[in-house]
């Protein structure tokens, strides 16, 4: 009974309670970080400040950092008890994404390594 009561109270005014989560300072801080990271990745790609072969890794790090900024500052992913399920689902999502992307890349790269080139295939047909 008691639990139900506490829950009933929570249900009606949670949207108001949440105002403490969504505050303009969080957004401004997130925006500043996002702008910095965007400028850094465009800057690094256009100029040649970063050593060429290291550039893809640098860009990947910046992109992952910016995605993190978006998740935390804009999409309110946090480590509170309520956010636990969100984080768990996000972890599973990241796992599936990594599996699909890197799995396809590894398999297709391997496949093209073992495939004869187009010219060789044409020769075989003759």
């Amino acid at each position: 009974m008691l639990n139900e009561e506490t829950h009933h109270g929570k249900d009606t005014d949670l949207s108001l309670e949440d105002e403490t989560v969504i505050n303009p300072k969080t957004y401004l801080f997130g925006l500043a970080l996002a702008i910095l990271l965007t400028l850094a990745s465009f800057g690094a790609a256009i100029t040649h400040v970063i050593w060429g072969p290291g550039l893809p890794i640098f860009l990947a790090v910046l992109a992952v950092a910016q995605m993190g900024v978006h998740l935390v500052f804009f999409m309110h992913v946090n480590a509170t008890e309520e956010g636990e399920n969100t984080v768990l689902a996000l972890g599973f999502g990241i796992f599936i994404v990594a599996l699909v992307v890197f799995g396809s890349m590894i398999i297709m790269h391997n496949l093209s390594n073992f495939m004869p080139s187009m010219e060789e295939l044409m020769k075989m047909q003759r």
């Binding site: 639990n3 949440d18 957004y27 978006h70 689902a89 994404v97």
Partner: protein, 207 residues
């Protein structure tokens, strides 16, 4: 921030024994699951692009056809729109109707500018003969970036519907919840765009 729920004897009640969750947390979690499934779709398109990005079939590579200045403006539009979307949600939660309309308008205009730039880029590529039928690379490119563009377009339609709901129903809790879902969707699209500009555009500029 979130104080622990205590029972009659003052012991904390575990999450599994607190009965049904609040409507707010159910809605945000359900929508979160939808967003994750959407992101899995994008992941498969990213994988396709990564595999096919070198299969240009004698046609142009990304380095030759992408205009980074255009992409930078698109990125700024989407990021700014993501920010104003947050401000829109904030004014909705504080029940400030005028501010809500103002930020909704700014969000919509920035999103529409993004779509406008993307449509210009696509039609320019097609006019130069580099349409999706030209090579596997271009097919993958148009599918990935086009799917993102479709999502942004449906987001713009959704925002129009939300403004109509606010105009007719007012900023009641139900409408604010829907606005929260919309803001999550809008931020998720910006998140996907980070992947697009890093992998597709900046990756091609480097290669």
């Amino acid at each position: 921030m979130n104080t622990a729920v205590l029972d009659a004897e003052g012991r904390p009640v575990p999450l599994s024994q607190r009965g049904p969750a609040s409507t707010w947390s159910m809605i945000s979690f359900g929508f979160w699951l939808f967003l994750l499934s959407d992101i899995v779709i994008f992941a498969s398109l990213f994988a396709t692009y990564a595999v096919l990005s070198t299969a240009t079939a004698g046609g142009p590579s990304g380095h030759e056809i992408f205009d980074l200045k255009n992409v930078f403006i698109e990125t700024c539009c989407l990021l700014a729109s993501s920010f104003t979307c947050g401000l829109m949600l904030l004014s909705a939660e504080r029940r400030q109707l005028k501010n809500f309309y103002l930020w909704a308008l700014v969000t919509w205009v920035l999103g529409a500018a993004f779509i406008g730039l993307e449509v210009t880029e696509f039609s320019d590529l097609v006019a130069r003969g580099y349409g999706p039928t030209h090579s596997a690379f271009l097919s993958a490119f148009f599918t990935l970036v086009g799917t993102h563009g479709c999502h942004v377009t449906s987001g713009l339609l959704w925002l129009l519907v939300m403004v109509a709901q606010v105009a007719t129903l007012g900023l009641r809790t139900m409408v604010v919840r829907r606005l929260f879902c919309f803001s999550l969707f809008w931020h998720a699209l910006d998140l996907v765009w980070i992947g697009v500009f890093t992998i597709v555009y900046l990756g091609a500029a480097h290669a």
